[in-house]
């Protein structure tokens, strides 16, 4: 297909994540490291869930289509479960390491758990998005006609938007999840798990990818609002931010310079 499709879909899917990376993470080496470790944890979770699916597939060894699809759905559910487990494992690791960091650097401020929640969520999201979309992207550079057999012709765009929603959702889930762990609100973890299952289940329950996307974006907005309030935001601070009157905004600092 065309280069326009390639670049368009690439930026739709990865633009916000790239912007977040450049503006918030690329400047601090420690955050980059935590991002990559987060990505690694997601990768290991994917490996484990693929292994489970592979074992299940070879053990049942049934070649007919509905069975394969059932196994796939089973694989998806297991994968979501394992991803959330690894998110919890990463939380535990960060908790232990931040205690270690504090003991080593008494003076220096170690990254706060909220920041680590954001970084880890973004790491999970970026890796997840890249793994699900990059093969499709590279195919979009080659020759072909989309939807020639009657499938929807907006396959690339749908996939790109789906990837975007997954990346942002992972980021919000990370924030909410870590906050739930910190405050020992275990129901939060359950809600995150259920939301993740819901988003994944949407893709195979409904064959209409447009509907999937809309529902996923609604979930994204809701989760985003939840993450915003969980990480300390409020309506007032939002107003101040939008009017560029709060102390932390870039414009405020620039003005005072």
């Amino acid at each position: 297909m065309t280069a326009a499709v390639f670049f368009g879909c690439a930026f739709v899917a990865f633009g916000p994540a790239l912007a977040l990376y450049i503006f918030t993470i690329a400047t601090e080496p420690l955050r980059i490291i935590f991002l990559i470790i987060g990505a690694f944890f997601w990768l290991v979770s994917l490996l484990l869930s693929s292994f489970i699916w592979f074992m299940a597939a070879t053990l049942t060894d049934n070649k007919d289509e509905p069975r394969q699809r059932d196994l796939l759905i089973f694989g998806v559910l297991i994968s979501v479960l394992v991803q959330e487990m690894f998110r919890f494992a990463y939380y535990k690791l960060l908790k232990k390491s931040s205690e270690g960091l504090k003991s080593i650097n008494p003076g220096e401020k170690a990254p706060s758990m909220r920041l680590l929640a954001y970084v880890s969520g973004l790491g999970f999201g970026i890796m997840s998005g890249v793994f699900s979309f990059v093969n499709t992207l590279s195919d979009s550079l080659g020759p072909g006609t989309v939807g020639i057999h009657g499938d929807p012709p907006q396959f690339f765009l749908n996939s790109a938007f789906m990837t975007l929603v997954i990346i942002l959702l992972h980021m919000f889930w990370g924030i909410v999840f870590f906050d739930g762990c910190e405050k020992k609100k275990w129901y939060t973890l359950l809600v995150v798990l259920l939301t993740h299952l819901l988003v994944s289940a949407l893709t195979f329950i409904s064959p209409y990818s447009g509907l999937n996307l809309v529902l996923a974006y609604i979930i994204l907005v809701l989760t985003g609002i939840w993450a915003f309030f969980v990480s300390g935001g409020s309506c007032r601070s939002l107003k101040l931010c939008l009017l560029c009157q709060d102390k932390d905004s870039l414009l405020f600092n620039q003005r005072s310079r």
Binding site: I32, W53, I73, F131
Partner: protein
């Protein structure tokens, strides 16, 4: 042809002290291809050369702590004068994260160059013969035979590397610096001119761009000459780093092309084991090299080590001789395996240059210290990722998984460096992770992701 290239220890002033980094020439790894392996385009010249891979990238984390214990009055902090000792560890950790990123960037760049070339230029994925060091073919009917051949190839290659390394250590011990230096220059000449010419030719062929010989000559000449100057003499640090990255990428591409499939994987595994042994065992050749250089108080072969920062000193304080031992000029334990024809992987050791024990007041400017990584590490990381890209059946997931695994391994190695503060091999952890992730992603994750993608499910 055995060529050793050694940094001219007597003549060169300590690298870390001069503001222009005396570049280290990477040892080009020239492959001696079997006759049948010559591809027609290259003028049928037999490539003879020595693979010298600076593999010795030792991590010498001589951070402040050890010096600090010896003399509490001396501000042996991480290079910042005048800081109270209590802040040392804090600075060490901060430096640690920064140094990790300073190594992530060149490793990533090298891998990007290699993967981009592999994915676009057909030449490096075509089978065109094998090196003379891997004589057994993998075109055998049975799996067992193929495995046996690859193991034999690995044994031959590793033994050549061991012999080379020991020879290098012997030469170094008996102070044959001129010989080593001459060989290094010859090797980097070959790498910078011949391999670049071939690479450029293949890239132009791929994109169907015509270039006349005068332009080509001018381009290659300029590239090579500036490279030689930057690497062996003085040059801007960024340019030197860029040349080292390019040379590592070229070397890795040559390996990717000429090593047969299974042999490449077994060789990668064996090299990591060898690296571990050579750097950590008391009688290991690399360790002996490092210790000899330390005794003599001179840098080992400043060529073939990628250095991530330079030291700015204005008004250098006079070092008191008693502190020399602790100070150690950062040397590159990159050992080029002066392999006659096999590019010995340079021993990957990552070195962090030792902190100078200056009394704080005399140092007029803050020193920026960096970590050094041997070019052999770059080369083998890129070989792993490049092989994943070449054989991954058009799959990017495998390549990305190996990439992340290698970065994590490098991170862990640097963490160990910060803990143990001595020369450490940089290959084992990363290559182990890389291999595990390559095989598992290729066989387990890829079918899963492909099936998901074909049903348009997302996890």
């Amino acid at each position: 042809m055995l060529t050793f290239m050694a940094s001219d220890s007597e003549e060169e002033v300590c690298d870390e002290r001069t503001s222009l980094m005396s570049a280290e020439s990477p040892m080009p790894r020239s492959c001696q291809e079997g006759r049948q392996g010559l591809e027609n385009g290259e003028g049928a010249a037999q490539w003879v050369g020595s693979h010298q891979q600076s593999k010795a990238s030792g991590q010498r984390g001589q951070e402040s702590e050890e010096d600090h214990e010896e003399d509490p009055d001396r501000y042996v902090c991480s290079g910042v004068p005048g800081r109270p000792p209590g802040l040392e560890e804090e600075l060490t950790l901060k430096y640690g994260a920064k140094h990790v990123i300073m190594l992530f960037v060149p490793v990533t760049l090298c891998m990007i160059v290699v993967v981009a070339t592999i994915k676009s230029v057909r030449f490096y994925t075509e089978k065109n013969g094998q090196l003379i060091y891997t004589p057994f073919t993998e075109d055998t009917p049975s799996v067992g035979q193929r495995f046996l051949n690859s193991v034999l190839n690995t044994l031959i290659m590793i033994s050549v590397i061991v012999v080379m390394t020991i020879f290098l250590v012997v030469l170094y011990k008996y102070r044959c610096y001129k010989f080593i230096h001459g060989w290094l220059i010859m090797s980097s000449l070959m790498l910078l001119f011949l391999f670049t010419y071939i690479y450029l030719g293949e890239v132009l062929k791929t994109y169907n761009v015509a270039m006349d010989y005068p332009t080509l000559f001018l381009t290659v000449w300029n590239f090579g000459a500036v490279g030689m100057v930057c690497i062996h003499w003085k040059g801007p640090l960024v340019l030197q780093q860029a040349y080292l990255i390019m040379i590592s990428a070229l070397m890795a591409l040559v390996f990717i092309k000429y090593l047969p499939e299974w042999s490449a994987w077994v060789i990668l595994g064996a090299i990591s084991v060898y690296d571990l042994v050579a750097v950590l065992c008391p009688k290991g050749p690399l360790r002996m090299l490092v210790e000899t250089a330390q005794e003599r108080n001179e840098p080992i072969f400043p060529a073939l080590i990628y250095s991530s920062a330079m030291v700015w000193t204005v008004g250098m304080a006079k070092l008191d001789p008693s502190s020399q031992g602790a100070l150690q000029l950062p040397y590159d334990p990159e050992m080029e395996d002066s392999c006659d024809s096999l590019g010995e992987p340079s021993y990957p050791e990552v070195f962090a240059p030792p902190l100078p024990g200056y009394p704080g007041e005399e140092l007029e400017e803050e020193e920026e210290r960096g970590v050094k990584l041997g070019l052999g590490d770059f080369i083998f990381y890129s070989v792993l990722v490049g092989k994943a890209a070449a054989t991954g059946s058009g799959d990017w997931n495998t390549t990305l998984a190996c990439f992340v695994a290698i970065l994590i391994g490098l991170c862990l190695t640097l963490l160990l460096l910060a803990v143990f503060k001595k020369a450490l091999p940089a290959l084992p952890i990363s290559i182990t992770f890389g291999l595990i992730f390559y095989f598992s992603t290729d066989n387990l994750v890829r079918p899963f992701m492909d099936t998901l993608a074909s049903h348009q499910l997302c996890i």
